[in-house]
């Protein structure tokens, strides 16, 4: 049984469909990159997988006993968050909340998990800084650390590299590929960086308000749509 199965799923906001005709499977240990133009329904799909949005038709099934509290999610930042008075550590630790259930306070284990999240993202020096005083890229790394410290089966990343400089971006891609390979963590990532996507991902899902391609990365690179989107080697970053 696959971790996530989409069967003929479609999602809509008031009025028209945003994305439809979704048919794909994500198996444990996969690394799936969701690519496509702006407004092609990528973030909506991520929300659908997280059950923040119910499909208008079809279904999104989870398997392998996947529970919500085994998922690390990196949402796109909201305006209200950017000037939020909280320390970096408070934000990262809040990722552990779901693991607490109804218990009111964090345990030593939660704090250790938060510490290791902070260490992994290399933000120890920011630990006691105020979240709103950080740059966009630093904030993004804090939110990634929060996702890391709760994810035990699945990591769902919605444009994780937004605002992060090129050097750090490559480092983070390696880090994500690392946890995917070594710890068997399943990764689903929305990305605009098609070249890094095909470099690291095992599978590609290409959306344009409908599913244009789903399959192994190697097949995507050879497909018509893939070739058009990737562009000539060394050419434009995005088609």
């Amino acid at each position: 049984m696959a971790l996530i199965t989409c069967q003929d799923a479609s999602f809509a906001y008031e009025g028209g469909a945003v994305v439809s005709g979704l048919n794909f499977e994500v198996r444990s240990g996969d690394y799936l990159c969701v690519v496509g133009e702006n407004g092609s329904g990528k973030s909506t799909l991520i929300k659908g997988i997280l059950r923040l949005k119910t499909p208008r038709s079809g279904s999104v099934l989870t398997g392998d006993g996947l529970k919500a509290r085994e998922i690390g999610y990196l949402p796109q930042q909201t305006a209200a968050q950017k000037d939020f008075p909280a320390s970096v550590y408070e934000v990262v630790l809040s990722g552990r909340l779901a693991a607490r259930g109804i218990l009111p306070f964090y345990s030593r284990h939660d704090k250790r998990a938060a510490d290791s999240g902070v260490k992994r993202l290399g933000i120890e020096h920011l630990r006691n800084r105020c979240y709103r005083e950080l740059s966009g890229g630093q904030q993004q790394r804090v939110l990634l650390a929060r996702a890391f410290c709760i994810a035990s089966k699945l990591l769902l990343l919605d444009e994780p590299m937004a605002g992060i400089d090129p050097v750090m971006t490559q480092e983070l891609y390696r880090l994500i590929a690392d946890v995917n390979k070594k710890e068997g963590l399943t990764v689903i990532m929305v990305s605009h960086d098609i070249h890094s996507s095909i470099k690291y991902a095992s599978h590609i899902l290409h959306l344009d308000n409908t599913q244009i391609f789903f399959g192994k990365t190697a097949d995507y690179v050879l497909s018509d749509v893939g070739r058009r989107f990737i562009g000539p080697e060394g050419g434009e970053q995005r088609a």
Partner: protein, 270 residues
């Protein structure tokens, strides 16, 4: 302090301190979630409910608490669904209940000092039952806030993330709305329907000038709120000014002080 030889003043101070404490704690979350208007809307609904209770000769708290709690859930629903429409809907509901309240009062007791008291508060409004009830409710609010502190933080900071990882965010939003409604009803008759929302909004905004952690913002706003209320009452006693307005003036002073302190600190750092 001779002012504490008056039993009504002691009652008012006890209720007021508890209410400002609760309001400040809840205010941090409401302000950060961009829900400040809900507090304002609820106080107007409370005004209408209070007027209706007076007209029916019913106990003010037993009538207004359920009505305001229901209004709180309604306003929360509206704000969650759509930001822009929610804004207008809150204004609609608050002016409507204000109008209903004024009409009910003028039909029954006539437009007199009662209306003024509801609008701007009266220190004489607290009786012994109010004190008992507010102590019980304040303890409940405080206990729930401490027990759910971490959840309130997570839901305030990033509702989508919390919901995605399996936290029942709707439940905690309702909890915050429920506690806010009760706090507003308790404080409204003393602070006045038009002024009570300042107890929720001011301390949070004030402490955000200086504090950099959620925990310190929370603790600081609780302290600011309690100190401002106490000094406000003393000033209103000495100068014979209305209590509610004096407390708000103290909150304004605290806000300016914190803002100035932050400006000084920033200019030193540069």
């Amino acid at each position: 302090m001779e002012m504490f030889s008056y039993p009504f003043l002691v009652r008012a101070v006890i209720v007021g301190l508890l209410v400002s404490l609760c309001a400040a704690l809840l205010g941090v979350s409401l302000v950060l979630k961009r829900y400040s208007m809900i507090g304002d809307g609820l106080s107007h609904v409370g005004f209408g409910a209070l007027a209706a209770a007076t007209a029916m000769n019913a106990a003010p708290l037993t009538v207004s608490i359920p009505i305001v709690v229901m209004a709180a859930f309604l306003l929360l629903r509206i704000s969650e669904n759509s930001r822009i429409k929610g804004d207008a809907a809150i204004a609609l509901i608050s002016t409507s209940s204000l109008a209903v309240g004024v009409v009910v009062i003028s039909l029954t007791t006539g437009m007199n000092t009662d209306v003024c008291n509801y609008m701007f508060g009266s220190i004489l409004a607290m009786n012994k039952d109010d004190v008992r009830l507010s102590i019980v409710l304040a303890v409940v609010v405080l206990a729930l806030f401490i027990l759910f502190y971490n959840k309130i933080f997570a839901v305030t900071f990033d509702e989508n993330f919390a919901r995605a990882t399996g936290v029942k965010t709707g439940l905690y939003n309702m909890l915050i709305a429920f506690l806010t409604a009760i706090t507003i009803v308790l404080g409204m008759r003393m602070m006045g329907a038009l002024l009570i929302s300042s107890l929720i909004i001011f301390p949070a905004l004030t402490s955000m000038r200086l504090c950099k952690k959620f925990k310190s913002v929370t603790i600081c706003s609780a302290a600011v709120s309690v100190i401002c209320f106490f000094t406000g009452v003393i000033i209103s006693y000495i100068n014979a000014t209305p209590t509610g307005a004096s407390v708000v003036i103290m909150n304004i002073a605290a806000f300016i002080l914190f803002w100035a302190a932050n400006s000084v600190r920033e200019s030193i750092q540069r």
